[in-house]
Symmetry: C2
Subunit: 267 residues, 2 copies
Amino acid sequence: MDTPEHVEEAIEVLQQLGLKEYEARCFVGLTRLTTGTAKRLSEVTEVPRTRVYDAIRVLEAQGLVEIQHSSPQQFRAVPLAEATETLRDQYEERVDRLHNALDRVDVVDDDDGSPVQQVWAMAGRGAIENRTDQLVQKAAEEVVLVIGDDSLLTEDLVETLNELGSGVELVIGALTKSLQKQIQAAVPDATTFVSGLEWLRGENTTDDETAIGRLLLVDRSAILVSSIIPGTREEQAIFGEGFGNGLVVIARRLMAQGLIAARDPHQ
Amino acid sequence: MDTPEHVEEAIEVLQQLGLKEYEARCFVGLTRLTTGTAKRLSEVTEVPRTRVYDAIRVLEAQGLVEIQHSSPQQFRAVPLAEATETLRDQYEERVDRLHNALDRVDVVDDDDGSPVQQVWAMAGRGAIENRTDQLVQKAAEEVVLVIGDDSLLTEDLVETLNELGSGVELVIGALTKSLQKQIQAAVPDATTFVSGLEWLRGENTTDDETAIGRLLLVDRSAILVSSIIPGTREEQAIFGEGFGNGLVVIARRLMAQGLIAARDPHQ
DNA sequence: CTGAAAATCACCCGTTTAATCACAACCGAT
DNA sequence: ATCGGTTGTGATTAAACGGGTGATTTTCAG
C-alpha cells in the first residue's frame, strides 16, 4: 500500500466530483488518519490549519465526514464504501432530476427545414460509444464496423452487437490480426476481416499521427468515423445520416470499390 | 408540456453536475430547439452570442452536443437518453477511480488510543440513510427503530429491515398511527408500536420546531438519533458506538424506564 | 465590392477560493 | 491562580475564475 500517486489522484477526482481543493485534501487526509484533529490534519494535508474547520463543515454537510464535538474536535471520514455510495446516490438523483426536467420541456423549435447535407462533429469517448450503440441497435439490414483500437471493443458494444437480429448482416473489420481474432471470439455471428484500410492510418505508424478509431456504416445510410487524438488520447468523431448525405455517399463509393468490405464478405 | 419551471430546474441541476451557467443554459436551449445557430441560441438562452461558441465547445468535448461545421455553424444536443447515459457513465467512472485510489492509500494513522466516549455528528439525508442501513445490517440480536417522518421509510431501508435474520428482534416505532400501519405492512416481521416518544417532539407541533427524524438502537450498543432542520428540511444526526458510550448508556436507561420500547414489546 | 452577419479575441469586473493574520476562548501544567 | 501553548473563529489580502461587453477579423449574400 503506497500512497504518493494515489493521494494525488483521489484529490483530483474528488474535485471533479465537485469538492474544493481544501475539502478534497481534508477528506483524503482523513482516510489516512482514520481519525484526527485539525492540527494533525493540517500537517498531513498541507491545508492551513485555520481553514480545516471550514472544509470539514462542508464535508460534514455532504455526509462525507463525521465530527466529534469535543475539545479538541475530532474528525473522521465516513467508511469508504458508505462515502462512495453516498456520492453515487447523489449523482443518480441529479441525473434523474435532469432527465425529468428536460423531458417536460422540448419543442420551441420554429425550425426552418434544414438541408440534408448534415455532418455532425462530436467528442468524448463515452458519448461516441453511446452513439455507436444507438446506431447499431436500430440497424435493419446491415452493419459494417471497423475497429482501430482494441480499447474501443467494450463490453457494452459487444453486447449490443450480439443482440442484433439475425436478419442483419454484421461485418466487422480490424486493423490487426490479433484484434480480429479477439472480435471473432467475442462476436461469433459476425463476419470479420483484417485491414483493407491501411490508407486510413497515418503515413507512418508513428504515435504522433492521429489514429483511426472506429468506422461504422449502418444500412448504408448512416455513418460514423472517429479518430483518436495523439496527445490526449481523446476520441473525436464525425457523424452523418441520410441516404443523400455527402459523407454517406463517399462511404458507399468506397465500399463499391471494395475498399471497406463489400456485401460479399471476404473469408 | 410547459417550460418555465423546468428550464430553470434543468439549468440548476446541470450546474450541480459541473457545468458552468452558460454551458447549462446552452444545453437546455438546444434541447428546446433541436437544432440552432449561435444567434438563435443566444436569443433563447439569454447567453451573450459571442459566448455561445465557448460554451458549445466545452459541451462538445463532454459529448453533450454535436457541431456542424458549416457556415453558420449549427449546433444540436445529443438525444436526452444518450446525454443522461453519458453523464451517468462519467460519474460512475469517477466514483470508481476514487474508490480504487483511496483503497490503495490508508494507514498513516499513528493514532493515540482514543477514549470510548465518542459521539459523532453527521449530516445529509443520504449519508445518514447509508449509516442506518449499515448499522441494521450488522445487528446480531436486537434492533429498535423509531421513525418520525414517513419520508424516511425508504425502499432501501425496508429492504434492509426485511433481510434481517430471524434471530434478531425487530421493534419499530412510529410517531403516528398511520405511519405505524404503513410500517407494519412493509415489514411484517417487525413488532410495531406508536409513539411513546411524545417528549421528543417540540413543545408544540409547529413546523419551526426541529422535528425528530429517526432513532436507532442496535444491540443496545450503538445508537443513532437524527433530527430534521425546520428551514432546509436537511437531516442531521448524532451517532455513538460502544457499550460504555455515554449516549448509549442514556438510551439504555430510557429503555429500562419503558420510554422507548422494552424487550417485552407493546401490542 | 460592399455591408451585414458570423466567429474569434481581448479585456473588464465582481465573485469565489486559496492563503495569511489577528484574536479570544480554552486547556493543561505548574 | 497563572502562564504558555493549543484551539477555534473571524477578518483580510491576493489570485483565479466566471460572467459580461466591445473591438477585430472572417465569411457570405447581394
